[in-house]
Symmetry: C2
Subunit: 119 residues, 2 copies
DNA sequence: CAGGATCCTTTACGATACTG
DNA sequence: CAGTATCGTAAAGGATCCTG
């Protein structure tokens, strides 16, 4: 309720905090990392491909998350004029810059499992 | 008669997916990255310190997130027997292993801002 | 095939007030 | 100081059915 009393020129740590918030807001939700990770590997996949690859996701969430990612230029959506229309999704060059982030997340998680088992 | 041609024992990509889920579940929510980031810098801080450092968080969320982080051995909680009790929080050695993940998140977010402005 | 529309449950989060 | 208790809102997510 109380708002900022004084406006400190943003210190370095605040910049980092803001940056983390930015990243998290683009990658928020349960599925975005999975979708991006899958597209980074598979390069180009159809809606159904993704539905199969990503364990547990439903059509509603998938289409919503894909829309979000596309709006942020992390992936591209291409409609093909086949009999029943098909659509393919790919990661953009910009989206590929997220690879290090995703890798760190994955690596830490892998080591986390090891740490758990050796307790 | 041929049985299932491919019941691949969890492929590499599934392992990564699981790892990402693990990491995300430990760091889920709006505040954990901020708390960890702050503790990595500040090393040891009291409840009020954190409340001040982390812009916008309330006591309820802070105490809940701290509890979560402590349960996962990412931070430690120490009670001091001062007049009104004081408590200090620090990051654990294990928690420090998250630094690369946090750094990647922060760096990407910083570049994201740059990318936005140069559009 | 690729989704949208709908309904519903669950969790997350925030504000305020109170306590040892 | 360091929280807990309570209440209320909003967002996230899931299940199912429907359509061009």
């Amino acid at each position: 309720m109380k708002k900022e009393a004084h406006i400190n020129a943003t210190p370095v740590c605040k910049v980092r905090m803001q940056a983390i918030s930015d990243t998290m807001s683009l990658l928020s939700g349960k599925w975005k990392f999975h979708i991006l990770g899958t597209l980074i590997e598979g390069n180009t996949l159809g809606f159904m491909d993704l539905l199969r690859e990503i364990n547990g996701i439903g059509t509603k969430m998938l289409s919503k998350e894909l829309r979000d990612l596309e709006m942020n230029n992390l992936i591209t959506r291409t409609v093909h004029n086949t009999k029943p229309v098909t659509v393919s999704y790919s990661i953009t060059e910009y989206g590929k810059t997220l690879a290090p982030v995703i890798d760190e997340m994955a690596n830490w998680g892998i080591n986390y499992r090891k740490a758990i088992y050796t307790l």
